[in-house]
């Protein structure tokens, strides 16, 4: 499936959402949102009022209508947000066809069973073209697997037993070869099932901040209910009749319906935005935590540097030309299948050395790398070409190398690279500079993070010297060198003791404890089952730099919530100025100057405020789904910007909006 952002008002989503908006009117669903529940009760009471004898029936009916709209708009916002997830879940579900599995019984024979009968620890064999029947671990063999059903990525991936690429996901297809898989999840609890229920929002629980915000909104609602209830008797004292619809209209305008109506949509949309970037958050809590991250732990390999070191320079010994060194280096690396070895061959090409194939040299005897000699090479025409670490080459040659060679070795090491020596039995020919290649654009991204107040720490098994050089080049704030998996866990615990929130990304089984300990643990989809279960997010693209986007989305989610809350509360000022003069005008005509917006009549003033209050929900749905833009410009600057837009703007905009609606209402002769 693809995870493109659906356009905001795609009819495939909006259509069912309209139906859902009505379905959500069920009191059991409404009671979860106290603000909208009060609005619903207000709508019902106002509707009942239409049937009482009154000469204001037209206005009351319109107020009632717009109060219903307010509730429906809020339900619609939630339904649209959910609808986007549901559409994705539908696509996922299609891939979960009913497949059969070849289960290996205790006696070693296979039997054909339904995939849904498989239990944990069952072993199945999956052959070319078959669908893997459930989540599991490859215990024998290797195969290419098409995982596009989950990742949307069409290029097949290799899955093999042992190591960090042994996990397979149910619903994916084996393209070649045959593997034995031990099932690790019962039916209905597999990754795909979890993914479907997550994107559908079926198991969505309120996050801690959402709960706190709901309490704030409920309390404000309660306070305004006191205000309105107290107004009735005070009106009696003042010989002013406040009718029920007018009091309800004021109440609904004052309680924070804007944020109350959009709160859950914002949360759902946040998880949805992650999914569009192919990150699956296991809970909304994890997304919220992502916004709070203080420290980012990044593995050097794969995240900061390209996966492997590459040969970037030949440094010949005195009396040896670069060409000669390149030639010898290429010969010694022909049989070296490691990425480093290949990069030597590639570099040699640049010096005009023709690419040679192994079969062109039938007499050659290739020496594989061994842990004892720590060298590899070739014996060709009586010459022994060798390539290896400095001290083993020194031993191989047996004589003291030239001072230039020793200097070159030191220089490379100090710069964070790995020196490889090339030699014949007679002499050392020179040094190959193997370098860690730092990915492009990282210093800028880390600068962005620093501006957000986030510290980046690079984790590497390299020695301190090498680590320091790479850390400097990549622009990370700190590094942990010679790190073992338990060091990573210890570092996380230490930072958490200091009150910081930690995010990390990992794939291997040995990452699992650290992923579980981190506040935001992102497991790569290519990783092991253990890693995926320990983390609280899965990156389907297995792209380690995704962490930065995850953090920005988390922050965006929180900002959107805060911005709309502020906006909602700030709106009250204008609504007071619309409704209070309207309520008092009949008894105290002297209060006319308080009608600063010069609204046409008491009826049109109240109606305009109610209409504005309802429409603003619809108008802000795109913002709630898309999120307020986040810029890494420091907390103070963001605060100033957002306070200006949503605070000050929140005070001013409704004055303009209500006035405009009043003009229209008056022109249409509605009140």
């Amino acid at each position: 499936m693809t995870h493109k952002a659906p356009s905001l008002f795609d009819w495939n989503i909006a259509g069912p959402a309209i139906v859902d908006a009505f379905k959500k009117l069920h009191p059991r669903a409404m009671i979860k949102n106290p603000v909208m529940f009060v609005t619903l009760v207000g709508a019902i009471l106002t509707t009942a009022d239409i049937f009482l004898p009154t000469h204001e029936r037209g206005v009351i009916a319109q107020i009632a209508l717009w109060l219903w709209f307010t509730v429906l708009f809020a339900n619609f916002a939630e339904a649209v947000a959910e609808g986007r997830g549901k559409a994705q879940a539908k696509a996922l579900r299609k891939t979960r066809t009913h497949s059969t599995a070849h289960k290996i019984r205790g006696d070693g024979k296979t039997e054909e069973v339904g995939a849904d009968t498989l239990r944990k620890a069952d072993v199945v064999v999956v052959r070319t073209g078959e669908i893997i029947p459930g989540d599991g671990e490859v215990i024998e063999g290797a195969a290419t697997v098409d995982e596009s059903a989950i990742t949307g990525e069409s290029a097949p991936v290799v899955r093999e037993s042992g190591g960090d690429r042994s996990a397979v996901t149910g619903g994916t297809r084996v393209l070649s070869d045959e593997i034995k898989v031990r099932i690790t999840a019962d039916p209905g609890h597999g990754f795909l099932d979890r993914m479907i229920s997550l994107v559908e929002g079926a198991k969505r629980q309120k996050t801690p901040n959402e709960i706190a915000l709901t309490i704030l909104l409920a309390a404000l609602t309660l306070i305004f209910m006191f205000v309105i209830m107290a107004l009735k008797p005070m009106g009696i004292y003042s010989a002013t009749v406040f009718s029920v619809p007018v009091l309800i209209a004021l109440l609904v305008c004052l309680i924070p319906t804007t944020i109350g109506g959009l709160l859950s949509a914002i949360g759902i949309a946040g998880m949805d935005r992650l999914l569009q970037r192919n990150v699956l958050a296991m809970s909304g809590r994890a997304v919220e935590a992502a916004g709070d991250v203080d420290v980012l732990l990044l593995d050097k390999t794969g995240t900061i540097t390209l996966g492997n070191r590459q040969a970037t320079e030949f440094m010949p010994a005195p009396g040896v030309t670069e060409q000669e060194l390149a030639d010898a280096a290429q010969l010694s690396s022909l049989a070296d299948e490691t990425p480093e070895g290949r990069s030597v061959v590639v570099l040699a090409k640049k010096f005009g050395i023709r690419a040679r194939e192994i079969h062109e040299l039938p007499h050659a005897q290739f020496i594989k790398f061994s842990a004892q000699t720590r060298m590899s090479g070739v014996d060709l025409d009586g010459v022994q070409y060798r390539k290896g670490a400095a001290d083993s080459i020194y031993k191989f040659v047996g004589s003291q190398p030239a001072a230039e060679i020793i200097q070159a070795v030191e220089k490379v090491a100090r710069a964070g690279g790995t020196p490889l020596l090339v030699a014949t039995k007679a002499k050392v020919l020179g040094v190959i500079y193997l370098k860690d290649i730092v990915k492009g654009g990282l210093p800028e991204r880390f600068k962005r993070l620093r501006a957000m107040g986030i510290k980046t720490v690079m984790i590497t098994g390299d020695n301190k010297l090498t680590a320091a050089a790479i850390a400097l080049e990549a622009g990370v704030d700190d590094f942990l060198a010679e790190a073992k998996p338990e060091d990573k866990l210890a570092l996380i615990r230490k930072e958490q003791q200091g009150g910081r929130m930690i995010a990390m990304i990992g794939d291997g089984t040995n990452d699992a404890p650290a992923l579980a300990q981190a506040d935001v643990g992102v497991a790569m989809n290519t990783g092991t089952q253990a890693a995926k279960e320990a983390g609280n997010m899965v990156d389907l693209d297995s792209n380690p730099t995704k962490l930065l986007e995850i953090i920005e989305i988390g922050k965006q989610l929180l900002i959107t919530r805060g911005a709309l809350t502020t906006f909602s509360i700030a709106n009250d000022v204008a609504k007071y100025f619309a409704i209070i003069p309207a309520m008092l005008m009949a008894t105290f005509p002297a209060i006319a100057p308080l009608n600063v917006m010069h609204l046409h009549s008491p009826g049109s003033a109240i109606l305009s405020a109610v209409i504005f209050n309802a429409l603003i929900i619809i108008i802000l749905i795109p913002l709630a789904l898309r999120g307020v833009k986040f810029q890494p410009i420091g907390a103070l600057a963001i605060l100033q910007r957002n306070l200006l837009i949503y605070g000050v703007g929140g005070v001013i905009i409704p004055f303009l909006g209500i006035k405009a609606i009043d003009v229209i209402v008056t022109a249409l002769n509605l009140a």
Binding site: F226, M234, G499, L558, G562, Y576, G634, I638, G647
Partner: protein, 599 residues
């Protein structure tokens, strides 16, 4: 709005700014059980003896529940003590005027009112209270309720400043140290200063003076049994009475007035409060009394900054308070200086503004400033009758109280009230920096929001609920002196003043009758204790939290932006709640006055 008045305002502000830091630093020592002050040589021995007598271990600290329970116990016992003294006043010494015992409802109202630092007075001091009642039953509370307020603020600040801690201080130690090191020494000097200005301090019986010009008043006719005689129309029959002599109040006044101001109590020795020539003899005494109302509250913001190691935060809170104060005083002063259009139309005293209900000695500016200061803080002393202010002028004191008296506020109470708004501001706007809300590195979660909002809920429910009840009840309307919107203002002001623990009055209301005494007393209790318990829970919750280290992404709680945010929160979350009620009272009155209508 004369130049000299501007100068005085500038002087007032300058002095408040100047005393904030030194007094704040002194508070840091006083509010630390191990703190050092220059009074140690004198007071330390007394302090030690007090602890021994109370059985208090000054080394020990308590969690918020223990702290709150101690405070509640102390308040309950001391309130009962005062209730008993007032009920038995007739049998107790130092009662040269032979005043009778107080009625049960008045005793309840007064005891509760003084215990809670409200000092609402349903009685006239000089015609009700014996010297012993004034000096012991009431003045004890002037000290104790102020000390309690400061102790609670200190406990909340400790909760904010500490992390992963269980305790927030020792109530008894705070109470003793605040009284001994802060309130008593300052009041000692202050009282002597007041005497130097002409305030009385004696135990003499009241002086009787013959009037130069006897005058006649109308009083209800009474029969032999002392019952009022009603005429045929059901109204009391009025008869003329010639007044030939005047009774001049005496007694230990200066000692009580000093703490009345410094402790933001406000309960007057006389009914006229700070408008009485004895209780506020000179312009200087008036000026210094205003300073003393703000002094401790202002210094507490410095204490906040010092304790949280973020002086910028302390000053940001101070600045928000200051801005709200300045706005209030300017509106009130402007409204009063502009005067009453009805007077203008009659050609009366146009240049002087609205002098009705004001002392000529103080004039417009000093009355407006005093009214703003006394209601910003929960003092409640008055040197002019707020009832006689113009619609808008009178709305300023009312709104000040309804904001929760967080503009400097009552000693301690102002700071902890403002800190509730700080927590709310941080919670609402904190999200906008892209982190879950943090206040000085502490996460503000559901619990903190709940207890913070509980205080706002209590404030709104008590003020609006009681006013609404009174406005449609017989007893409520019967106590009114004026009809229409002004009558509503009188009720609204009374319940605001009591719930807010201010104690000043829109003087028109006749409150000494069972219903008002009881409801106002209840409002007082609700306004004090139902606020304090959640706030102490907040202190306890904050103390336990871990602190997230500061970074570039941390929400800033100092500087101009935060100050503006805090002001906005106070106005939007605090003031908007009362706007409809205010619209029906002072706002409507303002517009009707412009049309020449009075009530």
């Amino acid at each position: 709005m004369r130049n000299l008045d501007w100068l005085q305002l500038a002087l007032f502000i300058a002095i408040i700014v100047l005393i904030t830091k030194p007094l704040g630093l002194y508070l840091v020592q006083v509010l630390d059980a191990k703190g050092k002050t220059w009074l140690d040589w004198l007071v330390k021995p007394v302090e030690r003896v007090t602890y021994r007598l109370l059985g208090v271990n000054p080394e020990e600290e308590h969690d918020w529940k223990h702290f709150t329970l101690a405070m509640l116990l102390f308040s309950a016992v001391s309130a009962l003590f005062t209730y008993a003294m007032l009920r038995w006043q007739a049998w107790l010494p130092l009662n040269p005027q032979k005043f009778d015992a107080l009625s049960p409802h008045l005793s309840f109202n007064t005891a509760v009112s003084f215990t809670t630092n409200t000092n609402w007075q349903s009685y006239g001091g000089e015609s009700t209270m014996s010297y012993l009642s004034q000096m012991v039953a009431l003045t004890i509370h002037n000290f104790a309720s102020a000390a309690v307020g400061i102790a609670l603020a200190a406990a909340l600040v400790r909760g904010i400043a500490r992390h992963t801690a269980k305790t927030i201080g020792n109530f008894w130690v705070d109470l003793v140290r605040i009284t001994y090191y802060l309130l008593l020494p300052i009041c000692f000097v202050f009282a002597i200063f007041l005497v130097s200005q002409g305030m009385i301090q004696n135990f003499k019986p009241y002086t009787t003076a013959k009037l130069m010009e006897p005058f006649t008043v109308q009083v209800p006719k009474v029969d032999d049994k002392g019952q009022a005689v009603n005429g045929a129309d059901g109204k009391p029959v009025m008869v003329d009475q010639v007044i030939t002599e005047q009774s001049i109040v005496q007694g230990p006044m200066a000692s009580q007035v000093a703490i009345k101001m410094l402790g933001t109590n406000g309960g007057g020795y006389t009914n006229a409060n700070a408008a009485h020539p004895f209780e506020n003899p000179t312009p200087l005494s008036n000026f210094i009394q205003m300073i003393s109302i703000f002094a401790i509250a202002s210094a507490l913001t410095y204490y906040l900054g010092r304790m949280t190691q973020n002086q910028g935060h302390g000053w940001a809170v101070w600045s928000a308070m200051f801005a709200l104060f300045l706005a209030g005083v300017l509106v009130c002063w402007w409204a009063e200086a502009k005067g009453n259009p009805i007077h203008h139309n009659l050609g009366v005293a146009v240049a002087d503004g609205n002098m009705e209900g004001k002392e000529v000695r103080f004039g417009i500016f000093n009355s407006a400033l005093f009214a703003t200061v006394t209601t910003d803080a929960s003092c409640g002393a008055v040197n002019a009758m707020h009832d006689s202010f113009t619609g808008l002028g009178g709305m300023v004191p009312m709104l000040n109280i309804e904001l929760g008296e967080v503009v400097f506020g009552g000693v301690g109470a102002g700071l902890y009230g403002m800190l509730v708004f700080v927590v709310l501001a941080v919670f609402i706007a904190g999200l906008m920096v892209g982190r879950t809300p943090e206040y000085l590195g502490k996460k503000i979660g559901a619990y903190e929001v709940k207890v913070a909002l509980l205080t706002l809920l209590v404030l709104a429910a008590s003020i609006l609920g009681f006013t609404a009840w009174a406005s449609v009840s017989k007893w409520g309307v019967a106590g009114l002196n004026n009809a229409g919107p002004h009558g509503l203002s009188e009720m609204l002001y009374a319940f605001s003043s009591c719930t807010g623990n201010n104690g000043s009055a829109f003087a028109g209301l006749t409150a000494n009758e069972p219903w008002y005494d009881t409801t106002l007393g209840l409002a007082t209790l609700i306004g004090r204790f139902l606020m304090i318990v959640p706030i102490m829970a907040l202190a306890g919750a904050l103390a336990q939290k871990k602190v997230v280290p500061q970074s570039a992404g941390t929400f800033p709680v100092s500087g101009f932006t935060f100050t503006a945010l805090l002001i906005g929160t106070v106005l939007l979350v605090g003031a908007l709640t009362f706007l409809p009620a205010l619209a029906l009272g002072p706002v409507v009155e303002h517009f009707l006055t412009l049309q020449g209508k009075l009530f």
